[in-house]
């Protein structure tokens, strides 16, 4: 028997390989570098690795290949754009994660125990969070470029497992943080079991785990449609869970609230890009010819996701929960781009993902600044009058909220406008009306928060705004600048996206 060795094109795979290598070196750093030097070494390593991967993504733009790894990875224009977006978001998010004030000193110690007090007194820091982040980013890079069901499943787990752990690392309110980790883990693995079962039926339907093979069966239409429907439905449940679409959204508010805020920022922004990236590839290529089977269901899900997200956000009293419901509403808007199933829908979704991700990281970065003696203050009532105490924090937060609401001169406006017009072009007029209605609803609660910050009397309750560290300040200013630039002068990026964003099959 002869063994043929696989042919890999390392250049095209390099962004993922660089990240995995960096993550492994990070694990070694944990073992061999002294405690005092670890934070700076890990931060430098993580930033270096992410920037190198971004550079590599830039170098391979314009490349197209179905077989960089024997068919299990597909590199094309959308892949490069999505990987780039994920890396840009991760670089900004890692600047927030570097503020170790948010993370517990010793995850293994009981909350409130003597052991924990000693660890805090010693100045211990959880530097494991950097390698965990890098592993998660590697999974996210692999998720939208997967070319078969095996890679897709492994990438899904690779991005999820580190995030489950990171959700439980908060320094304050540790019980709530551990609870959010438990909920995220149980619901997340529940949904990946559905995902896997769906994958099994798609394999049964087509006799191939490769996307190209499945697509061939879908076009040929010779297989058993029952298997296709079961497989597609269960696979979609797994994907819709990751993006937080109704009715698979119940984890989002709890996890967003309980997880340490930098982790929430990273998870909310980057996971969404990765999961929507995979959805785009799957619905735009593999199941494009079976549109009859998923289009109407996704339309319904998009409509209730937008409406429920916007309606429930109005009633929230906690900033992080409010942002969680707002992210649910945005998942609904993004689904419009998937349903549109045309070139402009693809371009618009990719632009929206980047714009929304950056604004999300920025908004959560501001949330980390508002604190009292026991940690972050996320109760909206205590944000009253923030504009007088800290014009910087309040005005940047207001700016990000306006971007979420889609006010002109922010990236959110361009994103919403292009995604709505793409959906309208594809004939989903009713859905666009629902989207506009929910945008109006959503704008109501964003503006309510702005009014609260600037036009309410401040209450004397010990809330103070931290002077941001240089890293956090960089993250906020960078996100605000990108949000503004994409709002004022989006043409170069839109052209770049529309030149590149073509799926190869």
């Amino acid at each position: 028997m002869t063994f043929t060795s696989p042919v890999l094109s390392y250049t095209l795979l390099s962004p993922m390989l660089i990240l995995l290598g960096g993550a492994l070196i990070g694990v070694l750093v944990e073992a061999f570098v002294s405690r005092a030097k670890r934070p700076i070494v890990q931060l430098t390593l993580a930033l270096g690795v992410l920037s190198l991967a971004l550079l590599q993504v830039w170098n391979i733009r314009g490349e197209q290949s179905l077989t960089p790894a024997m068919g299990s990875i597909i590199i094309d224009g959308p892949a490069v754009l999505l990987q780039g977006s994920i890396l840009i978001i991760s670089i900004i998010a890692i600047l927030l994660i570097a503020d170790t004030e948010h993370f517990t000193a010793l995850p293994a110690a009981l909350p409130g125990s003597e052991e924990e007090r000693k660890a805090i007194a010693m100045g211990a820091q959880v530097t494991e969070v950097y390698p965990l982040t890098l592993f998660a980013v590697a999974g996210m890079l692999m998720f939208p470029v997967a070319g078969d069901l095996i890679t897709l499943f492994v990438a899904l787990e690779m991005l999820s497992l580190p995030l489950y752990l990171m959700a439980g690392l908060s320094r304050r309110r540790r019980l709530a943080s551990q609870e959010s980790a438990l909920k995220y883990f149980l619901l997340g693995s529940f949904s990946s079991a559905f995902f896997l079962f769906g994958a099994a039926y798609l394999y049964g339907y087509s006799g191939s785990v490769n996307f190209a093979g499945i697509q061939e069966s879908v076009i040929g239409g010779s297989g058993n449609d029952v298997l296709l429907l079961i497989g597609l439905a269960f696979l979609s449940i797994g994907l819709l869970f990751k993006v937080g679409a109704v009715p698979f959204h119940s984890w989002a508010p709890d996890v967003y609230q309980g997880a340490p805020t930098p982790v929430t920022a990273f998870m909310a922004a980057a996971t969404k890009v990765a999961a929507f990236g995979a959805m785009l590839r799957i619905y735009y290529t593999v199941f494009a010819n079976a549109e009859w089977s998923w289009s109407s269901v996704l339309t319904g899900i998009a409509a209730i996701t937008m409406l429920l997200g916007s309606l429930v956000a109005v009633t929230q009293r906690d900033v992080k929960r409010m942002l969680a419901y707002s992210s649910i509403a945005h998942a609904g808007f993004l689904l419009l781009g998937v349903i549109a199933l045309n070139k402009s829908g693809l371009d618009a979704t990719i632009f929206y993902l980047l714009a929304y991700g950056i604004a999300t990281v920025g908004a959560f970065a501001v949330v980390t600044l508002v604190r009292d003696s026991s940690g972050e203050v996320t109760d909206l009532n205590r944000w009253k009058g923030l504009g007088k105490r800290s014009p910087f924090a309040a005005s940047t937060f207001a700016f990000f909220l306006l971007a979420f609401a889609g006010i002109p001169l922010t990236s959110g406006f361009i994103g919403k406008f292009s995604i709505f017009s793409a959906a309208y072009e594809s004939g989903a007029t009713g859905l666009v009306l629902v989207a506009i209605l929910s945008s109006a609803l959503a704008a109501f609660f964003y503006i309510r928060v702005i009014v609260l910050m600037f036009f309410s009397e401040a209450t004397e309750d010990g809330t103070s705004v931290e002077i941001p560290s240089i890293l956090t300040r960089t993250a906020i200013v960078a996100s605000a600048a990108i949000t503004l630039i994409l709002g004022v002068y989006p043409t170069p990026l839109l052209d770049f996206i529309s030149d590149l964003a073509i799926f190869i099959r």
Partner: protein
């Protein structure tokens, strides 16, 4: 023997697992039910592999086992941490995060 019987068994196991996740209250038992669902999917993969006459499904089953093992490591770490701080692994007791 007809291979489709294995598909029925697999669907039954998956349903038992899914119902278990919804009705059981102990985090460990919920987790075991999720593992049951993963194994049900594995059984489907292997059965389809037999029906289709190629090995892709069996390869996938091996990958699933590895991933399930990783999931056990992460899941038990989280459940043990919760149990140590609360002295309970019930998913109902963990309810700090509600409005």
């Amino acid at each position: 023997m007809d291979a489709s019987n294995y598909l029925y068994i697999s669907a039954l196991l998956f349903t038992i697992g899914a119902v278990g996740v919804v009705v059981r209250r102990n985090a460990i038992v919920v987790f075991m039910c999720i593992e049951l669902m993963l194994n049900a999917a594995n059984l489907s993969f292997v059965t389809f592999s037999r029906i289709n006459g190629n090995l892709d499904g069996q390869v996938m089953a091996f990958f699933t086992m590895v991933v399930a093992a990783c999931e056990v490591v992460v899941g038990l770490a989280i459940i043990v941490a919760i149990y140590r701080s609360r002295r309970s692994a019930s998913v109902d007791d963990a309810s700090l995060l509600k409005r």
